[in-house]
């Protein structure tokens, strides 16, 4: 979610990333570019660590418990790094972008709660033909967050 939203943020507000990389001065755009790249790297690392944790036991180490625990530990550690990178990124944003970000987070949490509970109830009573998975909710949250960021940027363009 953070990976995609960071990509979207760079696309919608910062323009061409290579031009941003060439920014010599330590101005706002330069700082945001650095923060965005840092967050992108952490998000990519977390995605990779999560994929390793999810598929490693089955395809790489034949469900050896020690290695699975190590993969879980790595995923959590990289996840903490991603959270800190995200916090730093938000603190670097200017006040309008922080407002857009906060609005998007509020909408995302609201949608997750409003949609998540009925979705799990429908799964519990077999109203839907499949079992609700956590990734369904993560996907919904990711899409909601991206659309909210895009809407916020469009609104204040």
């Amino acid at each position: 979610m953070l990976f995609l939203s960071t990509l979207l943020y760079i696309k919608t507000t910062n323009g061409d990333i290579m031009n941003q990389l060439r920014a010599a001065e330590n101005g706002y755009q330069s700082r945001i570019c650095t923060s965005s790249i840092r967050l992108l790297c952490w998000s990519g690392a977390w995605l990779a660590a999560t994929a390793l944790m999810r598929f490693g036991p089955k395809f790489l180490w034949n469900q050896a418990s020690i290695l699975t625990l190590l993969a879980v530990g790595l995923d959590v550690a990289v996840g903490v790094g991603m959270i800190l990178a995200n916090k730093k990124y938000v603190m670097e944003l200017d006040e309008l972008q922080q407002k857009v970000y906060l609005n998007a987070l509020g909408i995302t949490v609201g949608v997750a709660v409003i949609a998540g509970v009925p979705f799990s109830v429908m799964g519990l009573y077999h109203v839907i033909p499949f079992h609700p998975e956590i990734w369904h909710l993560l996907l919904l949250m990711g899409l909601t967050f991206m659309f909210s960021i895009a809407y916020g940027n469009w609104r204040y363009r």
């Binding site: 706002y28 755009q29 200017d94 309008l96 204040y156």
Partner: protein, 73 residues
């Protein structure tokens, strides 16, 4: 809240990007302030006032045109 940011910027032949750089914010923020879509925080208003060499109330004023100075009177 209304403001004279666009006029003051035009008087100095500055682009939105140049003003944004001087105030350490994004160009989008300058545009949103100029069009009245977003009200700046007090620290940003102070930075703008310092940059233009004016008082805050000479740049920003209430929707009905009243400034803190006129209200005191």
């Amino acid at each position: 809240m209304k403001n004279r940011l666009k006029v003051l910027r035009a008087e100095r032949n500055w682009t939105q990007a140049e003003l944004a750089e001087a105030l350490d914010v994004s160009r989008q923020t300058i545009n949103a302030i100029e069009t009245g879509k977003f009200d700046p925080s007090l620290p940003l208003a102070f930075r703008a006032a310092r940059l233009f060499g004016l008082r805050i109330e000479e740049i920003f004023h209430d929707e009905d045109g009243r400034t803190p100075a006129t209200e005191i009177k």
